[in-house]
Subunit: 191 residues, 2 copies
């Protein structure tokens, strides 16, 4: 998606350790005009798929997921990374390792929010090694819901996540796939 | 706001310890149709205030803030509760105590996202003792930005936060204010 690639080129900052900061528009400051264009793109890519629920994970997936949910006319459920005292129902649980935070999280979704009647689109901001996405896919499958696909904003194509998820037969659509990037600012996108 | 009060009555669950669960539509599953109506209400309440930035706090404030930001035609910044390795700029920092999580968080916003040119509306899902909101207000004031006001979805009117924030002269608009609630499900709203 050219609009997103342009923003990554203009405002993204490549840091040591394969970190891409896009906090100007995606995951600290959030440009909801851009989010709306991304949401429309996902709607095109998953048209006629009968999506009736969007699943994401806190925190930075929530904004794009909510805007996307308006396009699909459905609700959002966000997976939570820790167990607060407000969570007391039956839970789907799994563990994921966060690339940026460098630690393992327990991830939970209350069972009442996902079930066999749901056709789920997973939305998230980043796909790198795929741990978070695999965790969300495990939760969808455990729930008996149908996984329609995954919509990602930025995929780091040089890490293993995208290939792994696609090899599982999942319909994965990343709006920008980075082939390579270097700290001097050079970013090459996959055609 | 009647639509929100109706949803709280229909789907809210009052738990021991003054906990109100509204996870069916607000902060685990998210009803973006409701969010859009809430956003339009805030837009009416803060019309002509020149809002050019919305500040919220992760995680459950992000969805309503993003939808509201489209109404105001501005960007969202969300305050983060922990310091990941992607945060390395100059930071505004403060501490807040979470009512639901029962612990103290460091809350941060990168300085480049808030400054004297900003007219800030703070959006959050809950107001109880006011700790989170006071923390966000401290960050806005430290940044030199103008605080236009605060838009809250649900205020627990029987806790001290609302009175405290209003006594500071802040324009605070809560879409539903709960006067009292009991575990048998009785919820009384402020007129």
């Amino acid at each position: 998606m050219k609009l997103l690639e342009d923003r990554i080129r203009e405002e993204g900052v490549v840091k040591e350790g394969n970190v891409l900061k896009v906090d100007m528009f995606l995951n600290h400051q959030m440009d909801v005009f851009l989010f709306r264009q991304m949401a429309k793109e996902w709607k095109k890519l998953f048209a006629d798929a009968g999506v009736n629920k969007i699943l994401t994970i806190e925190a930075s997936g929530i904004g794009i997921a909510c805007i996307a949910a308006e396009e699909f006319g459905c609700k959002v459920v966000f997976a939570k990374k820790t167990q607060g005292k407000n969570l007391d129902g039956e839970l789907y649980t799994t563990q994921i390792t966060s690339f940026t935070k460098g630690r393992v999280f327990d991830v939970i979704v209350e069972k009442k929010f996902l079930g066999p009647e749901d056709r789920v689109l997973i939305i998230d901001d980043f796909l790198a090694n795929g741990c978070a996405l695999e965790g969300l896919i495990r939760i969808v499958r455990e729930s008996g819901a149908e996984l329609v696909g995954c919509g990602i904003a930025i995929e780091k194509g040089f890490q293993a996540g995208g290939a792994k998820i696609r090899s599982m037969g999942v319909h994965l659509e990343s709006l920008a796939i980075i082939e390579s990037m270097t700290p001097d600012g050079g970013i090459v996108f996959r055609e």
